[in-house]
């Protein structure tokens, strides 16, 4: 029985207020910062940075494909690299990833010798007739000559004066296959297993890895550990030269190999809603043949700096490498900043630091740009030398490979992406990479004091690709 006339909706309104009060009182509206889902750490993932979002959505198939065009200035190396990757994730989170890469390289690469005011001729073993000419080291300007008095054929190529000697006609093709299987052992634990193979005519690499990632604190913290074993076979076309022996056209020694065992441990931590941090430490042990069979080092006259002879380089058979890597992903408004650094140290005496920053900037709901900058600096390996002096005792190891020298490098890049839908994206990325280093060393004899000994790569690349998620 109503004793008073009720206004329309009075019970409902009062009840609404009272219910709101109830939940405020019970603390149900307490603003605890919601925990974003951090990406699962796949330490063994061969695709690179562990910060890449490798948590694919469940029950999806992701297809990634890209092609890279790379060109070094000065007629050096040119490469094309198409890559395709397929990743299938089941509804339990288990996933299988397959990647195929093809590399085609041509062009010229420094052979390690120093320049001279006169033409220089280099002798390498000849490619037997009938065999494919696409062998690393076979020069485009080579002439096949037969050594008088013997039946032996050798190849020779000549470099113009005042030029850093390069081995042109360099051609290489490489195929690589990578497979990774991830299994969700529980909501918080993931086991990943990977197999990789890379195949070139004169080099084969096989590796396998296992890693375990464990989440804590409501998936805010992930600890991961991984181990990787790699076995590489070096099969230079004309055999393996004995290190620090004279360069000639005779057939060389048998194939050689190396193995690598490495470990990595890392932590990924959601610092707050907008900041994801990753820290990892890795250590690797290389044992076996690590010399570049095609690289030489000039033995020069200690007064003129002119070449006396050329020796095959030689590097130690063991190497211990360590690195510490720190990466941050920070969301500021609609943009995402990636800031990372790495410190590297190895038993060959190389110390390096890398710093990288990139900024993801959405322009419209479909288009984004991502400028990036990377700085790198390394010290030289303790057996690195641009040349050896004639008359001095031969060291145990020596290499003039500029990749082991002291240099710094800057990369400027810009990526442009276009989202065709929430599931697909096209992108194009351009980069300019330039190395800089000392042209010569103090005390360089004669001609070499004013020559440019630094091989210095300056390369530009463009990569175009797309990614699409099928649900």
């Amino acid at each position: 029985m109503q004793l008073r006339k009720r206004k329309k909706g009075q019970v409902r309104r009062t009840l609404g207020l009272v219910t709101a009060n109830l939940f405020v009182a019970t603390g149900a509206y307490a603003q605890t910062a919601p925990a974003p889902q951090p990406p699962a750490s796949q330490v063994g993932d061969s695709s690179g940075s562990v910060l890449d979002d490798t948590t694919s959505d469940l029950s999806t198939t992701v297809l990634d494909s890209s092609i890279l065009f790379y060109q070094e200035k000065g007629g050096r190396v040119q490469a094309i690299e198409p890559v395709a990757r397929l990743k299938i994730t089941g509804f339990t989170g288990d996933s299988l990833s397959l990647k195929a890469t093809y590399d085609s390289l041509t062009g010229a690469t420094p052979n390690g010798a120093t320049p001279w005011k006169d033409p220089q001729t280099f002798t390498v073993p000849a490619t037997p007739p009938g065999e494919e000419a696409s062998v690393t080291g076979a020069s485009g300007n080579t002439q096949i000559i037969t050594i008088p008095g013997t039946g032996t054929q050798v190849a020779q190529y000549t470099i113009a004066p005042d030029r850093l000697p390069v081995d042109s006609g360099f051609k290489d093709r490489r195929y690589a296959l990578d497979m990774s299987y991830g299994r969700q052992l529980s909501t918080d634990t993931r086991l990943t297993f990977g197999l990789d193979g890379s195949f070139e005519r004169d080099y084969r690499s096989y590796s396998t890895n296992v890693s375990l990632a464990q989440d804590f604190n409501d998936h805010n913290t992930t600890l991961s550990v991984g181990v990787n074993y790699e076995y590489d076979q070096s099969k230079p076309h004309f055999g393996t030269p004995t290190p620090l022996t004279e360069m000639n056209g005779l057939p060389k020694g048998p194939n050689d190999n190396k193995s690598v065992l490495s470990f990595v441990a890392g932590i990924t931590q959601v610092m707050n809603r907008r900041w994801l941090l990753e820290l990892n430490y890795s250590v690797g042990f290389n044992k076996g043949y690590q010399t570049d069979p095609y690289k030489i080092i000039s033995v020069v006259d200690s007064v003129t700096g002119g070449p006396v002879k050329y020796l095959y380089e030689g590097r130690p058979r063991s190497r211990t490498r360590q690195s510490v890597y720190l990466a941050n992903k920070i969301a500021i408004g609609p943009t995402v900043t990636d800031l990372s650094g790495r410190y590297y140290h190895d038993s060959w005496g190389i110390d390096s630091i890398t710093g990288e920053v990139s900024e993801y900037v959405p322009i419209t709901s479909r288009i984004y740009v991502e400028p990036q900058f990377r700085y790198y600096h390394q010290t030289a390996a303790n057996f690195f030398n641009y040349y050896l002096l004639d008359g001095q005792t031969l060291p145990d190891f020596a290499s003039a490979d500029s990749r082991l020298g002291r240099f710094s490098a800057k990369t400027f890049g810009l990526k442009l992406g276009f989202k065709i839908s929430s599931d697909g994206e096209f992108y194009i990325q351009a980069q300019d990479y330039k190395q800089s280093g000392a042209a010569t060393v103090p005390g360089a004899p004669g001609y070499l004091a004013t020559a440019n000994l630094f091989a210095g790569v300056h390369a530009q690349s463009v990569m175009a690709g797309f990614t699409y998620t099928f649900r």
């Binding site: 009720r6 329309k8 909706g9 009075q10 019970v11 409902r12 009062t14 009840l15 609404g16 009272v18 219910t19 009060n21 109830l22 939940f23 009182a25 019970t26 603390g27 149900a28 509206y29 307490a30 603003q31 605890t32 919601p34 925990a35 889902q37 948590t55 959505d57 469940l58 029950s59 999806t60 509804f91 339990t92 989170g93 969700q184 909501t187 409501d218 649900r471």
Partner: protein
């Protein structure tokens, strides 16, 4: 229920009802996690407020023999709520009405209690007889507090709020037919819900689409007594101790929260033949089956 084969359903049993949680997110590990959050909350509330458990707060209150009981914040908030519902319903909604259970058993038989039996139990019903000065409750001897009319709805709302604290994924939490969604499904789509009413042999189904808020259904056509051709519904008026006359078979109410929907659908049932008028005057979206 909902159409997508993409959504896995987290099912469990709690509060004597089949429960389910659906999360509209392709990350099914997240969905399972959210389902577990809802399940944990349902069990927590069930354990805390169950009449049947020795360790529950309700049992502590009901065995206090008239002595003051100090209550925790959550229970105090629920009692404040019960108090408000009592006031705004003019005594129709009363958490002390559970003692009527002792004399009314709705098993389809003709065991209607006598007037005397009802008169004997009435003194032990009435929220106005309870002394509630937060956080202290004094419940007179032989009276009972029963959160049965609020418990499931409270659990649904609490579960949804707990889920919303950790995830933006749209979820639907359904405990035995009392349900709430945290928001529309991805792509601004509505959740599809089927409402079944069972009347003896026949099952009729209505389909509703919901983008926000909660739905509860009151009424159970199976629970009644039949004597001398008179059907006694199980909706008891706590002021008289007798069933309400001509209540609807079922009332489904949509409201922003499950608790509001639950209280309104209970109040509507208690209006008997005036249920539709009550719901219309309140401006509540509802479906009444007679």
């Amino acid at each position: 229920m909902t159409s997508a084969g993409e959504m896995r359903v987290h099912r469990f049993s709690a509060m004597a009802s089949p429960c389910e949680v659906r999360a509209d997110d392709p990350d099914l590990i997240l969905a399972a996690h959210l389902g577990q959050i809802a399940e944990a909350e349902a069990r927590r509330i069930e354990i805390k407020y169950s009449r049947y458990r020795d360790d529950s707060v309700v049992t502590k209150i009901n065995t206090s023999h008239g002595k003051p009981v100090t209550l925790d914040d959550e229970t105090a908030a629920l009692l404040d709520y019960a108090d408000s519902c009592y006031q705004l319903s003019n005594g129709l909604f009363d958490v002390t009405s559970g003692v009527l259970r002792r004399i009314w058993k709705f098993d389809g038989s003709d065991n209607v209690p006598s007037k005397q039996q009802v008169a004997e139990v009435l003194p032990f019903i009435g929220w106005n007889k309870v002394t509630w000065r937060r956080p202290e409750l004094i419940l007179p001897e032989d009276m009972e507090i029963d959160f049965g009319g609020l418990g499931k709805e409270y659990a649904v709302d609490s579960a949804v709020l707990k889920i919303m604290q950790v995830s933006d994924a749209p979820v639907l939490v359904n405990f035995g037919g009392d349900l709430r969604v945290s928001g529309p499904r991805t792509g601004n789509q509505r959740w599809r819900v089927a409402i079944e009413s069972v009347d003896g042999e026949s099952v009729s189904t209505a389909r509703l689409e919901i983008a926000n808020g909660a739905l509860t259904t009151s009424g159970d056509a199976r629970r009644f007594l039949l004597k001398n051709g008179v059907r006694y519904s199980h909706i008891l008026d706590p002021r008289t101790g007798w069933p309400v006359k001509d209540p609807p078979r079922s009332v489904t109410v949509a409201a922003p929260t499950c608790m509001e929907a639950g209280v309104i659908s209970t109040l509507a049932m208690l209006q008997g033949k005036k249920a539709e008028k009550f719901l219309k005057r309140e401006g509540v979206q509802s479906w009444v089956v007679r």
